[in-house]
Amino acid sequence: MMYLAFAACCLLTNLFLGTLSTTGSAAEIINGILLLIDFALFVAIIVLTVVVCIERFYKNCYGPEGYLTFTLPVKPWQILLSKTLSSALLIICTLAVICGGVLLAVPFNTWNSIDMSDMVAAFEQGLQAVGAGNAAGLALNILGAVARNLFVTILAIYLAISIGQLFHDHKVALSFVFFFVIQSVIGLLTSLLFAGTMNMSDILSTYQQSVDSLDSLIGMINTFIGLQSLWMMAIAAAMFFGTDYIMRKHLNLE
């Protein structure tokens, strides 16, 4: 429903901006209100998605539905994997709707005025400069980085909720506390691990000082993102098996 409201509001923005005069003060006010509503819905969709992911996991696993979930003849890691994938899918759908909404909000006549051949030419020029292989590698690396951050965040939420349910009282409050503890620990360990090796400013300064090849720069960026991805995948695995361990050995549906 929220998705539809966001899409409808974006379409309304598009039609208003595209067909009506936008020079009058009343039109500017309406424009402003529409953009404000678009933004409010954009924030609401993101918040709602996060809340749904948390609520579904808590209710399905540690709430009343947990009585059914944990009496199904399946292993806890299978339950955890299904919850992780369904949350990831929900978040990807939300991101797709947001991107679609933003594109939808741009008036149709604006699209017509954009010279696509210029954009294509600029893209081809950039691709030639960087090299097709490099560009594809970089794009894959960035997509991978987004995906691993998505899974790390989902698994951090699940681990925090699972640790919270180990306690007799204040389970929800403690889950929030542990989420921030987990995030802090990940941040601290990541800083310690990468502080002595390499970081983005090192890469840029190295490039500015001595490296004149774009290939080298992209190679260094790929190495940096690749190392961070490996580290984050190790963290994701640790959180996955930590949550699985709690579900197997310390389940307490009181």
Binding site: P64, E65, Y67, L68, L72, P73, H168, L251, L253, E254
Partner: protein, 241 residues
């Protein structure tokens, strides 16, 4: 890969060895040991807070023991035991947005021993609207629906926590008949309830729990012959305030 296991119909179907469960400083179950053979209907009886629900939840794999062990057909609660145990909790555990027909599909997907036709017939008999979401059903109908789903499995151990607590007296007889007619002969049914008089006629054996301790395990025939009392009268005598 699904585990293939030869079922031993004569071994203890449920066995507790020095089983203890603590919640913080509170002891819900205190070092209890007993075993149950297949083919019995067992009443798990005791006052509020005696540990009945805790024991059932541990057998279902929803709580982990603080110490001791609980074994279902020789195994600790896990994938194998959950495939042979059919558990009815005292609360609604179904996804409220699902319809009864969708719950039948759900159970068919997960439990190999689930009989969807049997479930459909029972829903018709008990007038459960099969197309209404669970959240729109009355409390009593939700309980009937859960009991139907649980009893439509050909399980080896049924764990029923207060199965007749929330339904009207007219439906109780039907439910008790449903339990009698639907459980397999080599299966064991454990019924936890306060309504002893209502279930007494179907019980073979009773377990009395008090303050987390097992204070009596006896067959109903022995109680009647040796004590000259019904189970209800024995309960009142043992737990006299």
């Amino acid at each position: 890969m699904r585990r293939v296991r030869a079922m031993n119909s004569t071994a203890d179907l449920l066995k507790c060895e020095d089983l203890t469960k603590k919640f913080g400083k509170d002891t819900a179950l205190d070092n209890i040991s007993f075993s149950l053979d297949p083919g019995h209907i067992v009443g798990l009886l005791g006052p509020n807070g005696a540990g009945k629900t805790t024991l059932i939840k541990m057998a279902a794999g929803l709580l982990t023991p603080t110490s001791g062990a609980i074994l279902i057909d020789g195994d600790a609660p896990g994938v194998y035991s959950k495939g042979i145990v059919s558990y009815l909790p005292e609360r609604t555990y179904l996804n409220e947005s699902m319809t009864p027909d969708q719950t039948i599909k759900f159970f068919s997907d997960f439990y190999e021993d689930f009989d969807p036709e049997r479930a459909g017939e029972m829903m018709e008999s008990l007038n459960v609207n099969r197309t209404k979401p669970v959240k729109n059903l009355s409390k009593g109908t939700k309980e009937k629906l859960q009991l139907i789903l649980v009893m439509s499995r050909k399980a080896r151990l049924y764990l029923l926590d207060e199965p007749i607590g929330g339904v009207d007296p007219a439906a109780r007889d039907y439910i008790l008949n449903t339990i009698l007619q639907n459980y397999e002969e080599d299966a064991t049914v454990i019924i936890s309830t306060h309504l002893i008089a209502d279930v007494e006629q179907i019980l073979d054996e009773v377990l009395f729990l008090q303050d987390g301790k097992l204070i009596l395990q006896e067959s109903v025939d022995t109680i009647r012959e040796e004590r000259g009392l019904s189970v209800d009268e024995t309960f009142r005598e043992v737990f006299r305030c």
